[in-house]
């Protein structure tokens, strides 16, 4: 038997955080975009234990301000691409500076200086990542996928898909299907 699973990574992550924090009796409030406010003092031992238990889920406590900001930028972009049924019509630069309350110039500078990628490139990769998921779920046509992700046309989605993966959307789907058959 083979089950196909649909999941929401952001919800799953919040549940894991909640469970682990409660297990160690840490009073907390989960804020948006990967921030947690802790109201009681946490012993070093508990902190280490929390870190270790979260690392198992590939969740890491970030403690440098710049990497924190980069993480928030990434989370905001991912949230924008995944949480909305259709991408918002406002420009991504506007969206980011509104959400993070910082100038877009500052945001792009920090991002480019500290990652191997520009924000624009990161956004393209994330959009194609979402497109891959939607293509594999097989419930929407490519035209519907391109509409959902705010591409002006299917042709534009296909060409960006090809640029990021080197494959056409249909070759991509064929390869994943073959891989799954092979694993059976």
């Amino acid at each position: 038997m083979r089950l196909y699973i649909k999941y929401d990574g952001i919800v799953a992550c919040r549940v894991i955080l909640q469970e682990q924090l409660e297990r160690l009796n840490i009073k907390h409030k989960l804020l948006e975009l990967g921030e947690i406010e802790i109201s009681n003092t946490v012993s070093d031992a508990d902190f280490a234990e929390l870190q270790a238990s979260l690392n198992k889920y590939a969740i890491y406590i970030v403690n440098n301000e710049k990497s924190q900001l980069i993480q928030r930028i990434k989370d905001t972009i991912v949230e924008m691409i995944y949480e909305n049924d259709k991408l918002p019509a406002i420009t991504i630069s506007q969206y980011l500076s509104d959400k993070l309350n910082l100038s877009y110039g500052y945001i792009t500078n920090v991002f480019t200086e500290n990652t191997y990628s520009s924000i624009e490139n990161f956004i393209i990769i994330q959009k194609i990542e979402r497109a891959k998921k939607l293509i594999l779920e097989d419930q929407l046509t490519l035209t519907e996928v391109s509409y959902k992700l705010n591409y002006s046309s299917v042709a534009y989605l296909s060409s960006q898909f090809k640029k990021v993966t080197g494959l056409t959307p249909s070759a991509f789907k064929r390869i994943v299907d073959k891989r799954r058959n092979l694993a059976n």
Binding site: A58, S67, K74, Y116, I125, A171, V176, R179, L182
Partner: protein
């Protein structure tokens, strides 16, 4: 998580000495602070990987046509071993046939590179490949659907 400052650990298996030199010189010129280890053929690489104490590479480049053990055979053996589940595999080949590309992807390769003849192009290709690979490692993207053909 790999941060910008950390080095990436890279392996390449290619039986052509010129291609190996070409590749390592391109890597050196990129100045990305990476550690590169070279292997003369697939068997050489597999012997190294069978040692349980090695530092896991982030990415390995496999030439397809090699004596003793081809890149395709290495790919199958490596993908059958859970120890290497987080390692990206890049096929580095003179062939650009659709069939080779698709077959290696189906068998678990993540990246397919048609060997460029030109040094500047090679540098750009390696840079693009390491960039996209780094994105997949650092941004929690789904490695099962990570394909990049260039």
């Amino acid at each position: 998580m790999i941060s910008h400052k950390d080095s990436m650990h890279i392996l390449i298996a290619d039986d052509d000495e010129d291609d190996r030199t070409f590749f390592s010189e391109a890597m050196m010129e990129l100045k990305m602070n990476n550690k590169l280890t070279l292997f003369n053929d697939g068997k050489d690489l597999m012997d190294y990987l069978s040692n349980p104490d090695i530092i896991m590479p982030h990415i390995l480049f496999l030439d397809l046509n090699m004596p003793y053990m081809s890149g395709f055979e290495c790919l199958k053996v490596i993908r059958a071993d859970v120890r290497f589940k987080d390692v990206s595999i890049a096929i580095y080949s003179t062939s650009s046939s659709e069939k080779d590309i698709e077959e290696t992807f189906v068998e678990g390769a993540n990246i397919y590179i048609k060997k460029p003849n030109d040094f500047a192009k090679l540098k750009k290709v390696i840079k693009d490949v390491l960039n996209i690979n780094w994105q997949f490692h650092s941004s929690g993207l789904n490695k099962e659907t990570f394909f990049f053909s260039i």
